[in-house]
């Protein structure tokens, strides 16, 4: 992990801006120091206990075979057997990896860009923009069970709205070549509003004088956005990227509502759940899947952290 050696530099870089007048070499009063120590150690302990310890135990458990009956002494250690089985004889695994990647690409290309576009348009404070805003954001507020139900009304093969209106017999949720795209559209419905709101909040924070200056210089709206606003929005852009990556990795709920993540809707998150939640209790096998998911996400996290720290060192 790169952050261990870079963290001190980050602190050093950030300090001058907020350094108290007497200089940062001077020691803090005892009470303040205690406060700082508590504020650092308590969250740190919580993170270690709730995030890193379970993660580590998952890794340990992934080398065993355990159905959850009896104590931990009943775990049968099988080495890399689970990983080998996942890669060789577990048919849903490779489709799941592929689907997660498709999910990531799709989210970036369509709903994210659309959400940004909507935010830019709504930022112009046209008439009724609040109504549009509410309409676009509504799906984000709805519960997933409800979203699954709403889209079932559209997609049902025999009784769905789409097939009824167009007189088709497309098996939207059942055909494994189609259902991933059908679910992606439903996801986009939600994701667009989410990105829109975040981006809109960012746009509202952009200093109005920047736009005025650009306008005085005679820049067009489009040019202003790409050359002035977009670079200023860098932190928000970064957040959007992170959100999209996280959303596509942990994508789970909609496919679970549709068909528990089977038959064309396999995703790694759904496979983990199939193996450890519910009556199937293949804890070792499920943990191995979770570890694989963790490894994949740590690739993205590493890239992100590297990027952030490099920027801060420069700045």
């Amino acid at each position: 992990m790169s952050h261990t050696d870079e963290a001190p530099q980050q602190a050093a870089a950030a300090a001058p801006a907020q350094a108290p007048p007497q200089g940062r070499e001077k020691k803090l009063p005892a009470r303040d120091r205690l406060t700082v120590i508590l504020m650092v150690t308590i969250p740190l302990l919580l993170v270690l206990l709730l995030v890193w310890l379970p993660a580590l135990l998952s890794v340990v458990l992934s080398f065993g075979k355990w159905n959850g009956f009896g104590g931990v002494d009943t775990i049968e250690w099988v080495g890399f057997q689970n990983y080998e089985d996942i890669a060789t004889i577990y048919p849903p695994f490779w489709p799941a990896i592929q689907h997660n990647l498709i999910w990531l690409g799709f989210l970036f290309l369509f709903p994210t860009l659309l959400g940004i576009l909507l935010a830019v348009i709504l930022d112009r404070e046209m008439r009724g923009s609040r109504i549009y805003q509410t309409a676009f954001y509504m799906p984000v507020v709805l519960s997933l069970a409800l979203i699954g139900f709403i889209w079932q009304l559209f997609y049902s093969r025999d009784q769905g709205l789409i097939n009824d209106v167009f007189g088709t017999q497309v098996d939207w949720y059942g055909d494994p070549d189609i259902n991933l795209w059908a679910v992606l559209v439903a996801t986009a419905w939600r994701h667009t509003g989410y990105i829109m709101l975040i981006y809109l909040a960012g746009l509202k924070g952009v200093d109005a004088s920047l736009r005025e200056a650009a306008a005085v210089d005679g820049a067009s709206e489009v040019k202003t956005f790409f050359n002035v606003i977009f670079p200023v929005m860098r932190p928000i852009n970064m957040i959007v990227v992170v959100i999209v990556v996280i959303e596509s990795l942990r994508a789970f709920d909609l496919v679970w509502v549709v068909n528990k993540g089977r038959n064309g809707l396999e995703l790694i998150g759904a496979l983990v759940a199939q193996n450890v939640v519910g009556e199937a209790t293949r804890y070792g096998f499920g943990s191995a899947l979770a570890v694989i998911m963790m490894l994949i996400s740590s690739v993205f996290i590493t890239i992100y952290l590297r990027n952030v720290f490099r920027e801060e060192r420069r700045g």
Partner: protein, 442 residues
């Protein structure tokens, strides 16, 4: 182990200790995925005092139906009330949503479970018995009115009884009486009749079989019945137990027969729920539907226009006298605090009085396991169900109750769906099942 020391250490302390150790470990191991359900289920146990049984005692009763979930909850509530009234025992009802209950059963039983809880016969029950999670009830058996087949279904692999049945429902081929009368169709006696009937239906533009497998489990019923008809009950059970090869000729024959029957089934089953399939049968678009009696629930009527027949014989050397008829009932949790009260209540739950209390307490009656239960509230459909199951020589519990849950859920559901997507690759599907079965059954 822990049960041996339990006499030295106060029982309540043991249970709490064990519960916290296990739930903490589990929580860590699963990154908190599964703990939510456990804490929901294990409603904290207050200190209970007073006599173990009879008047003044308390027995905790965990049920797999949430309050207000309809007839199923009403029945269990009525049963609990009747027992409280009759025995003077206070029944402390813990009602949990059906899926939540089922999904957290493992953590529930290893934490602080209720004394008596709703459960199913079959492998699912036997597995708990093997792991010491439920209490031996063999001293409560025999129970008046419960015949040998029910005793058999209540027996775990060690030959002792751990379960008390209350009701069951058969899987069979359902059809609309009015539709069949209009077309002059009658239930097929032989396989030839059966094939002729399906061809006739297709000729009239009716799809013979309604079919939906979006949820993954309904198609297991088709596999079960074909396997029982083609390879016999004994083979079916040992296949479920992991003692037969899944890539052998017997299983291939099942899939091959199924492949030939698929053109008579509704197309695109993987996008259709069983409720939607039932609706197609209800509307007369499909001629019949292989499902459990619960098919009535999706039709929104009391089933007066419904009738059924058991799946016809396919192999002349194998009698058509086996069927799936899952049995619901009760177990006593080994970690429950009040074992005596739990056992006493479990025995009563098997009685005709318990079944009657349940059936009088709800609109939709179930089919009682006990011979002595009143059938006055039964519809014709229920009377016939009782008759057919009574006449069956062998009763299976349904694939996901007869085999390891890990195998049924993570291997069989996707494999059957793969077969339905691509029915021509039987060798590929069976080979994949066998590889995974070998890895799970070890």
């Amino acid at each position: 182990m822990s049960r041996l020391i339990s006499s030295a250490v106060p029982r309540s302390a043991m249970v709490t200790m064990e519960a916290s150790r296990r739930s903490v470990l589990r929580g860590m191991a699963l990154s908190g995925l599964a703990v939510g359900g456990a804490s929901l289920l294990a409603a904290c146990g207050g200190g209970d005092s007073g006599p173990a049984t009879g008047s003044g005692a308390t027995v905790k009763f965990g049920i797999n139906e949430a309050e207000g979930s309809g007839a199923a909850y009403d029945r269990l509530k009525a049963i609990a009330d009747a027992y409280a009234k009759e025995s003077g025992t206070k029944v402390d009802l813990n009602a949990v949503d059906h899926n939540t209950f089922q999904e957290s059963i493992n953590t529930y039983l290893q934490g602080t479970p209720d004394d008596v809880f709703t459960w199913f016969a079959g492998f699912r029950m036997s597995q708990f018995a093997d792991n010491g999670l439920i209490t031996d009830l063999s001293d409560q058996w025999p129970i008046d009115g419960l015949g040998d087949s029910f005793k058999q279904a209540a027996t775990a692999s060690d030959g002792k009884q751990y379960f008390v049945p209350i009701s069951y429902y058969p899987w069979a081929v359902f059809y609309r009486k009015s539709v069949w009368e209009k077309n002059g169709w009658t239930p097929p006696e032989t396989n030839d009749d059966f094939m002729a009937l399906m061809d006739e239906m297709q000729g009239k533009g009716v799809t013979p079989f309604a079919f939906g497998d979006k949820d993954g489990w309904p198609a297991m019923g088709t596999f079960d019945i074909l396997n029982m008809r083609l390879n016999g009950f004994d083979f079916h059970m040992s296949l479920m137990a992991g003692d037969e090869a899944w890539d052998g000729d017997e299983v291939k024959l099942v899939f091959d027969t199924w492949r030939k029957l698929l053109p008579y089934h509704q197309a695109d089953p993987l996008g259709r729920t069983w409720q939607e399939a039932a609706t197609s049968m209800g509307k007369g678009e499909c001629g019949m539907y292989l499902l459990g009696t619960f098919v009535v629930d999706a039709l929104g009527e009391n089933g007066e226009d419904l009738d059924f027949f058991t799946f016809p014989q396919l192999d002349s050397s194998i009698a058509a006298d086996s069927l799936d008829a899952p049995i619901d009932g009760f177990c006593v949790a080994a970690a429950g605090k009040n074992q005596e009260a739990g056992k006493a209540m479990a025995k009563w739950l098997g009685s005709a009085a318990a079944a009657d209390a349940g059936n009088n307490g709800a609109d939709a009656p179930f089919i009682a396991a006990n011979d002595g239960a009143s059938t006055s509230t039964y519809s014709d459909l229920q009377k016939k169900s009782a008759e057919v199951v009574g006449a069956a020589a062998n009763i299976a519990q349904f694939m996901d109750r007869d085999t390891n849950a890990d195998f049924a859920n993570t291997v069989m559901i996707p494999s059957i769906q793969d077969f339905l997507k691509n029915p021509d690759d039987i060798d590929g599907v069976t080979a994949s099942i066998q590889e995974q079965a070998a890895s799970i059954f070890g």
